[in-house]
Amino acid sequence: MLTLLRQRLFTDDVANTIPWERVRRAGSKLTTPLLPDDYLRLVNPLWTTRELRGRIEKVVPETEDAATLVIRPGWGWRHDHRAGQYVGIGIQVDGKFVWRSYSVSSPPKRSGRHIAITVRAMPEGFVSDHLVNGLTPGTIVRLASPEGDFVLPEPPPAKMLFLVGGSGVTPVMAMLRTLDRRGTVPDVVLHYSSPTEDRMIFREEIERLEQAHETLKVHKQFTDTDGMLELSDLDRLCPDWRERETYACGPAPMLDAITEHFEQAGLEERLHLERFSLELGGDGGEGGTITFQNSGKKVELDGATTILEAGEEAGVGMPYGCRMGICHTCTVTLVKGRVRDLRNGDEFDQANEQVQTCVTTAVGDCTLDI
């Protein structure tokens, strides 16, 4: 009955006509200081919007060390990610939530009920190994909303080049699947490097796509035998690479080399990269004294250290997640003062504004509600 009601509320226009927020607010009169969701999730763990959650529905092995996790997101998830974006996934390891980010490999679908991420177990990667080998269907995980600018433009460029290394294929796969689903694949060249054939994620599907679409050309390079991609070979592999919008995703050294190559050719505007590490490009703040209101602790902060790190140094139990500004686990309320986002220089200074401590630093004195 509840499922039925929920489907009605969420699947069509009824969602817009029933003031769902108002129902929840009325319900919270019964559950204060908690929310109705805090009780509803006792019935079904996905029936809460307090924290985004998902249930692992399937774990599909892709290669020896990689698997695709098919996840059913819970309430509050909007199936509006763009092809190429990544999501945060939080799992409890030894009682503690740890977060990682992975590209969504499934194509965006409004009516969709699932998303898929593909994970490779990295050597000594404790969390990735747990994701590939330790999760069973039914496990509830935490999710963070899709983020990222490494996306398929609308409309897609007429000529594209994908330079992919290893598990960097996942965001590109989402783009290829999206193009395939629409049935209009433009002129696409995919160069895909992988140590061996067996370790190549999505190999069979890519081969199928290549057969289905004449405009899709795929070069495979097995680096254990063929060596790494030399960018000077690009002229041979894809003579018109200069005319193509290029999307590159893979290990950092590969991306560095590609960036350099495109810069030398004066084509950096054509190059789009996905890196899974935080780049703090923005200017630092001036620094200042941060007061942690609840404990009364104070700490001096230079303009380059994040508030999260400063809080941890001071021994405040700061919440944290991805540590790169995507999962919002670290968000706390800024009571007064001003902080600057180290990624882009955006400043936040509203009283009681929610700020992400892992990517912000102080501009002058600040007080935080923690």
Partner: protein, 407 residues
């Protein structure tokens, strides 16, 4: 004069006190390093149980009161379930979550920064008046507002005034309306009366209390009774009963923490230049435990391990039992008093103190060693008058970002 000059540990050298401090640090480290899935499962299970109790209590009342035959049993059962839910939520869950005992799980849904508990006091004010003022300045006269909560005279060092004659009555009122007493605690009415309180801050706090209190009252005394229709009186009575039970129980438990005979008071001079080890010592001497089985400890938020809680306010409460064995052994080793007794005895002593101190000192004998210090004014201090916070409290050793990145 430093705390080590207090009679109870005159026999210890500075080096011995520092050694004690190191041994307590080691206990802390051991527990921190061993926090894991079992602890996480404990708090998650408890929260689930508490929420089921709430649902069961509300449903029993809503459904059961309409039939004449089931009305009384339903009211009693419903009130009991609700009382259990509120007690668990306030004591073992809310109080401990707000101390940051479960912050290590990195779960924003069970985190000190945003937990709001099921009582009238806003969490933010509780964290200031309790986590900061009380746990930092435990039992320091003039600094710790929990010595009598600004209502009762609980230390012989506090000056007597004729107002104190009413103590037995104030005490009964405080016990009955404990939730509201706690709600007003951080406001510091004494400082408001003297015009020392920042009016802006007061307004902000009052607004917070009003909003939270209103929601609590609406829920228990308007919305749920209204849902019962013609039987609203029964539901209202059951809700009053549940709140009253919670009030009395938490009052008793909390009064057993620092008011039994063994718990000492300290003076400003004694906390001057206090080291971390001396802070530990003060916590041991200022707190009192009571005995009980596992269920008793859960229902009292593990505050029967008050000494352990004061030594390690942010370690998970389910570990206090095992910690207490080690702390007790340390106290024996260093010949430091470790106050413990059955609940009725501990509360009895607190009650006797309340009654005795309602009259001037000269009329009664002290049950504690005579205070070595002259009488103290009872004026409460503001934050700016308090010495700088000793950084060793609370989450002080929860690892640095570097360590976390490595893990």
């Amino acid at each position: 004069m430093a705390i080590s000059d207090v009679q109870e540990y005159m026999h210890l050298t500075d080096e011995e006190i520092e050694q004690l401090g190191r041994e307590l640090d080691a206990i802390r480290k051991e527990v921190e390093d061993s926090r894991g899935p079992k602890d996480a499962a404990y708090i998650n299970r408890l929260i689930r149980i508490q929420r089921y109790l709430a649902i069961a209590g509300r449903l029993t009342l809503l459904v059961g009161v309409h039939d004449k035959r089931t009305r009384v049993p339903a009211a009693v059962t419903g009130a009991t379930l609700l009382a259990l839910h509120k007690i668990l939520e306030n004591m073992e869950i809310g109080h401990n979550v707000m101390h940051g005992q479960w912050d290590w799980m990195n779960d924003p849904e069970i985190h000190s920064s945003n937990w709001e508990w099921d009582t009238a006091q806003p969490a933010e004010q509780w964290k200031h008046s309790h986590n900061y003022v009380h746990h930092q300045f435990t039992n320091v006269l003039g600094y710790d507002n929990d010595i009598g909560y600004g209502i009762l005279r609980m230390a012989r060092e506090q000056r007597w005034s004729p107002v104190n004659l009413g103590q037995p009555v104030y005490n009964a009122m405080l016990a009955t309306l404990f939730q509201w007493g706690v709600a007003l605690h951080d406001l510091d009415i004494e400082r408001i009366r003297k015009g020392e309180k920042d009016p802006k801050e007061m307004k902000r706090q009052l607004k917070q209390i009003f909003r939270k209190g209103r929601n609590q009252i609406l829920k228990d005394y308007v919305v749920y009774p209204a849902l019962a229709g013609p039987q609203w009186r029964t539901v209202m009575a059951a809700n009053v009963g549940a709140n009253l039970t919670r009030n009395l129980w938490s009052y008793v438990i909390i009064f057993c923490g620092h008011f039994p005979d063994g718990a000492m008071h300290f003076t400003e001079e004694e906390i001057e230049d206090e080291t971390r080890a001396e802070w530990y010592l003060r916590q041991i001497l200022g707190a009192a435990n009571f005995e009980g089985g596992p269920l008793m400890h859960i229902m009292s938020g593990n505050l029967g391990y008050q000494i352990e809680h004061h030594l390690f306010p942010d370690l998970p409460s389910n570990r206090y039992g095992e910690i207490s064995v080690k702390v007790k052994a340390l106290c024996e080793k260093y010949d430091i008093p470790y106050t413990i007794g059955p609940l009725h005895k501990q509360y009895g002593q607190a009650l006797r103190t309340i009654i005795k101190l309602s009259v001037p000192n000269s009329w009664t004998n002290s049950d504690k060693p005579e205070p070595p210090t002259p009488p103290q004014k009872r004026r409460r201090r503001s934050d700016s008058e308090r010495p700088d916070r000793i950084r060793q409290l609370g989450a002080w050793s929860r690892g640095t970002s570097q360590e976390r990145k490595a893990s």
